[in-house]
Symmetry: D2
Subunit: 287 residues, 4 copies
């Protein structure tokens, strides 16, 4: 059991009326929100805010969106939440299910998606790996391959970069690592899905993080192909087929992001585990 | 935040093939299950069990059912769960919403139901109370009325007893108290629903408990008209319009219940709060 | 295949601000709406209307609600729809399913509800009938019993009348006949649900009608215990556990119904079948 | 109103145990199925069949899947259905909704998907077209562009071909034309989705067909960028973000398709419209 306290502070310069869809509220699936507060408003030079009303909604894809329209000005978004998650120990062995044994709802997670062209890379992946009984060992060997062959490099990719691109350029950030691993899993008939959220990093800055889940032994198991943090520490925001389903912010209009600070404290009240993000630091999107 | 550990042990003498639908697994809504185990089997005189396979399913009404068929013999059911709940402090003030402001999904909770004949009792309730701005004060005055006028008496009602019956006989158990309060709320245009679960009682035996939720100030708030335990300590199993939607066991066949033991430990890791059900005791259904 | 054209015209005298929830739009389940128009407005002495805007919504229970707030004045509601339904021939034989074979979603339709106290009447029903293999014959014998023992009498019951009341008073209208039959089916472990809609009557006035569906042979089959019209001709508005789930209008406030006219034309383009409600007539609620 | 009769006949040589997921049953959304029959079995040299049992299920993405496991041998699939659809006249004018006015459920249909890289093609599309008030005229001008610039050529693309590929190669089949149009719409902030089904072609062979729907004026409107048949005549099987969500057959194993015949009759009982697919012909996948 992990209790996480999250503080997110964003600011945008809006130069003309813009529509915001924020997907940074933590998920209610298999997580317990103890308390949560979202505050959106205009900030003037005196720091005084006037409130912008927003709508909270459940999207078809599973995240919890907050949407609002902002006019010209400086918009501030402040989000705080305390969340309990269940950092389950990973089972020693979790078999790959044959197709006939898979629940129907996992079938879409076998298909290619915008950033995970498992159809194109199928032959190459199958020559590298063989889908065998113990799924966890196989997924870990996929991650080993990614660690050995793909360089983690901040700023090297953008929002159009797909697994195929990364397979060729051999570098990427967390979302690219996750897209690679998902693509490999799907090419081996293991359902896999994208998962974004908040997690504490030993090395600052704190940031949103992307990992993935593979369906093994009858359940979804978290893996982090960047190996930057323990995957079971992730406080999930949203899950989807790939990054296109889980943008933390979709903005239609003309804006500039001027602040993005994330502060995370995580602890286990039943053990000595406790981490605290010290100073608030400027985060870089896409770690 | 409360961490509850629940152990339920049931035994049935089955005299001919019977269908069991158990609805005693804790709810996943606004609760985090840390771990959970359900075990069903035949017990012989040597205590040896052979396993009965069951299906877990989501029912239309919201509970999590486990169903199985048992043949002649002694059937044992063992359930353990560790669950985190959020015992929120009740807001100081939560207004009664006008009908036009209520979310559509709360409208069915304004209607009469099998055990809550708010249509029949409407005039009498409206002469006793007046729906006013502060909903919590009104609901508490409903509970005051029930405490003053209805006697809590174990065994005085059965599965066909409705709020109307209790209004006339002036005695009942927890489910009857909840039906009364729900009926009164609905007659005053406050959406109300039935809620069953596990809770620690200072006085043994431990048992299933029934309370209710009223929709006030834009949220569902728990109230316990028996005032036997703090309502925010309830670990919810199921919610429904009344007791007909939330039977902890529905059995079609010929059986006799020979054991029903519930053991509950509740604690708050961040405070000194800790209660532990000591000896396992024989519980009486319907406290 | 039946093509039905429905015209409903309602008028209300509203004496103070009132909330309307209309559930008279035809269902989209297993029906195809060719076109549909709902118009709500204030009518003055010159017949001129000003429009009232309404919201259409899906309710938890399954109907399609249109809701609006009306101020003091005369409110007119005009609804027209053309709908295709599939008047399937009833199978010659449809077995009663054992409990273990029933889909989980049908289980709530075995439970008692506000107007169908199958728990109370269980013993009496079981002494009258025996649940046997051929479900259609059994359900028809239930309807025979109702036809022989319950008198159809307009105006003899009200919105609080339940099956138990009718069982004692031996008279009722269509909704009471349906409640009786549902109660009998549930007491015999046959899932049954309430079903309201539009149907053409040979004898005017045209009106809303209530029938029921029993779950036999793996599907829901329509029966009309009043035997006033062929059940497969019903254009369904809503289904529910009983009449409390399917009110064609729920109004919170102070109003008086001053007009309720229903006009129905039904035809089968592939056969000679064609009926047409001639003059618009004043209908009586609750036929 | 259109009544369509569909007959589909498929045969597969299965060389080792294979899992079949067929998504060729017609959709129940806004369509009325009058009758429907699916039959799956092994065929031997005497034409005798032994039945293969299958499961029908609702998939997360919206189609109705039938799944089964087949062993070595010749497998035959026979599907017949009679379906009523509503071929509504297209509104004269249907405005493009601003983002803030779009229902949340349409937002995913603005995002790129596996075969519709609207993120990559965004700048090019925006230089070709300008999103303006009348959506239908804009979408028709997109289709004009596709008709002028993309050559329809059977067999020129495969299951990995995306809109970007087609934009470069300038040729494709119906699914590629639909992917192009969807990509263009999304790049112009018009929600668009893929739609497959059965439709009668003047020129044989009859086949599955892919078109798309754009969200304009508050509703989904069908368009066929191949202009091979009237889009409102389509009997829909499934809708999705692109072709990856709507494969008519997904087969895991070693098989060879040996027969695929589709026969379609469409008529309007209220007009003279009637088309009948004459001889059963061998269809080519992917028209």
């Amino acid at each position: 059991m992990l209790v996480s306290k999250i503080q997110t502070s964003l600011a945008y310069e809006v130069s003309s009326a813009s529509e915001f869809f924020l997907n940074m509220l933590v998920s209610k699936k298999s997580q317990l929100i103890l308390d949560e507060r979202l505050h959106v408003g205009y900030v003037n030079r005196h720091g005084v805010e006037s409130v912008i009303h927003f709508q909270k909604n459940i999207d078809a894809v599973g995240g919890r969106f907050a949407s609002f329209t902002a006019q010209e000005g400086t918009v501030g978004v402040e989000y705080t939440a305390r969340v309990v998650t269940n950092n389950e120990r990973r089972p020693a062995d979790a078999a790959i299910y044959s197709i006939s044994r898979l629940p129907k709802k996992t079938i879409p997670c076998l298909r290619p998606s915008r950033y995970c062209e498992s159809d194109v890379l199928s032959a190459q992946v199958q020559s590298l790996f063989r889908a065998q009984g113990d799924g966890i060992a196989l997924v870990e060997s996929i991650i080993d391959w990614i660690q050995d062959n793909i360089q983690y490099e901040v700023g090297c990719s953008d929002s159009t970069t797909s697994a195929w691109d990364v397979f060729e350029k051999r570098k990427g950030v967390c979302r690219d690592f996750a897209h690679m691993a998902i693509t490999f899993c799907r090419a081996l008939n293991i359902p896999a899905r994208f998962c974004v959220g908040y997690i504490y990093f030993d090395e600052p800055p704190q940031d949103f993080h992307a990992i993935f889940e593979a369906y093994l032994g009858g359940r979804w198991i978290k893996f982090d192909p960047t190996r930057l943090a323990p995957p079971d520490h992730l406080v999930v925001i949203a899950r989807g087929n790939d990054a296109k389903d889980t943008p933390f912010a979709t903005i239609f209009g003309s804006i500039r992001t001027t602040r993005m600070r994330i502060n995370i404290v995580q602890e286990d009240p039943y053990s000595d585990f406790r981490v605290a993000a010290g100073d608030e630091q400027q985060a870089i999107i896409g770690r």
